[in-house]
């Protein structure tokens, strides 16, 4: 079923991740195969038991300083890192779309960001004081910094958004749902512009220990679709897209980066950590149907590709089920191997990187690959960036708890 009515385009992108502090740095690192996942030590002492080592990808460099300079005011102490990443990515996306200070932001724009968690850094510091060190006072901004809607509230205050502003959550698919939700609001005519994406910052010692308890973390690296893959690696950051009705974008002379095709949203209703074949397959199929693509149009897939044994095997089977014979000529990328798993921000960051690949016709390589796994028989982009002729992009996001969000974008010709 094709989208009826208004066409939607992408007019701005923003990203902060372990690969770099803006979109250009992220794209360059992904293309060049410069991954950011490293085994790092996280010290739980003195309040916790020990030091633990995890492979993780962390944002490096000063995100706050340049942002405060650009905004002309201090913001650092009021933001948990997950909000800081969101605000920085939102600013970059608005700047590229030439929308900072634009009157349309006032009432004709929505801001919807997805997060799997909330202000974990803030909560963990608060609880360490309270429970381990037995200090009675809590920081007065603990609640506003930790709440899941803190990033959208912060960005709304900074950029003067007075329309629909809220957060959505679906674990590892959160920003996929945020993108679909924002597009639906533009589609319905509620707004002309939707700032959509997500952010996450969960690399605290206590949080990583909990992830380790899930038995899904690799001790080494993220190796999507490879034989010998042994789990995921946590990342952090934020990514934001500016979606805009085509009419509005054309009327103000905006540069169009891609067209939004559609979304497929499904729930497995099955298991906390095991995926089903039907849920992801039906989400992919629904997204492709919504985009009403020419059946012969070459496609690029940005896979969910977490590097866990089960996800990648199941996702490969789902892709084969949906594409049929076309699977042999459909390149698949999996950029979590470079930037780690950004959980709630993963779908948005993968979309930003993959939209560049779609526009430039150059797909970034999957990193950490050891050897073929017969159960993951796909046309994987390996070794180095590969020229691709794709005219459309499918982005997969599948969450723990069985929540699936697949998105399709079309190359802007």
């Amino acid at each position: 079923m094709a989208l009826a009515g208004r066409r939607i385009v992408v007019t701005g992108l923003g990203a902060v991740s372990p690969l770099g502090l803006d979109v250009a740095a992220n794209v360059a690192a992904a293309r060049e195969g410069c991954g950011a996942i490293r085994v790092q030590s996280f010290d739980l002492r003195p309040d916790g038991p020990d030091v633990c080592d995890f492979p993780a990808a962390l944002v490096e460099g000063d995100v706050l300083g340049p942002l405060e300079t650009a905004l002309g005011r201090r913001i650092g102490a009021s933001l948990d890192p997950f909000a800081l990443f969101a605000v920085a990515a939102t600013r970059e996306a608005l700047a590229q779309a030439q929308l900072i200070g634009h009157p349309a932001l006032e009432t004709r724009a929505a801001l919807i960001l997805g997060h799997g968690f909330a202000g974990i850094h803030t909560l963990e510091a608060n609880y360490a004081r309270l429970f381990a060190r037995k200090l009675p006072k809590t920081h007065p901004l603990t609640i506003p910094k930790a709440m899941v809607s803190a990033p959208v509230s912060a960005a709304a205050m900074m950029f003067g958004l007075h329309g629909p502003v809220f957060a959505v959550s679906s674990a590892c698919a959160s920003s996929g749902h945020a993108i679909a939700q924002g597009a639906a609001m533009v589609q319905a005519g509620l707004v002309e512009i939707a700032l959509v994406g997500g952010s996450e910052a969960i690399a605290t010692p206590g949080s990583l220990r909990a992830w380790d308890g899930l038995q899904a973390m690799s001790p080494t690296a993220c190796r999507p679709f490879s034989a010998g893959r042994d789990g995921m690696a946590i990342g952090e950051g934020g990514a934001v897209l500016v979606l805009e009705s085509l009419d509005h974008a054309l009327a103000r002379g905006a540069t169009i980066l891609a067209e939004y095709g559609g979304a497929g949203l499904t729930s497995d209703a099955f298991h906390w950590t095991q995926p089903s074949l039907e849920g992801p397959s039906s989400a992919m199929r629904a997204a492709l149907d919504a985009a009403d693509l020419d059946p012969e149009a070459p496609l690029l897939i940005s896979a969910h590709g977490t590097g866990t044994p089960l996800n990648d095997k199941n996702e490969a089977a789902a892709i084969r089920t949906v594409l049929g014979d076309a699977v042999a000529r459909t390149p698949v990328i999996a950029t979590k191997s470079a930037h780690g798993h950004l959980i709630g921000a993963a779908a948005a960051l993968q979309t930003v990187i993959a939209l560049d690949a779609l526009g430039a016709g150059l797909a970034p390589p999957i990193l950490g690959y050891l050897a073929p796994d017969p159960e993951c028989d796909l046309d994987l982009v390996l070794g180095e960036a590969r020229p691709v002729a794709a005219r459309a992009l499918l982005v997969n996001a599948f969450a723990f708890g069985g929540l699936n969000a697949c998105l399709v974008f079309k190359r802007w010709e």
Binding site: I75, K137, P140
Partner: protein, 82 residues
């Protein structure tokens, strides 16, 4: 002493999101935009950084920045001397 005051002014600027240039001694807390959440945020940061406890009523009658800084400096120096 002067160095401590300098550090405290930076801490106030960071915690209460205020331009350090506004933080002159004669300025009132209202002038510099230090509201109740800002004051508690600064107190919290002072306690973390200097290991002192600022009693709840210690700042009750303070109106200007100099008075605020003098009380905080007094608590930090008393702890250093103890």
């Amino acid at each position: 002493m002067a160095a401590l005051r300098e550090d405290l002014i930076h801490l106030i600027a960071d915690e209460a999101l205020i331009d350090p240039a506004k933080l002159t001694p004669k300025a009132t807390l209202a002038d510099v935009g230090l509201d109740s959440v800002g004051v508690i945020s600064v107190v919290f940061a002072v306690e973390e950084k200097y290991g002192v406890e600022v009693p709840e009523d210690a700042l009750r009658d303070v109106t200007d920045l100099d008075g605020f800084l003098t009380i905080i400096e007094g608590l930090i120096e008393a702890r250093a001397a103890a």
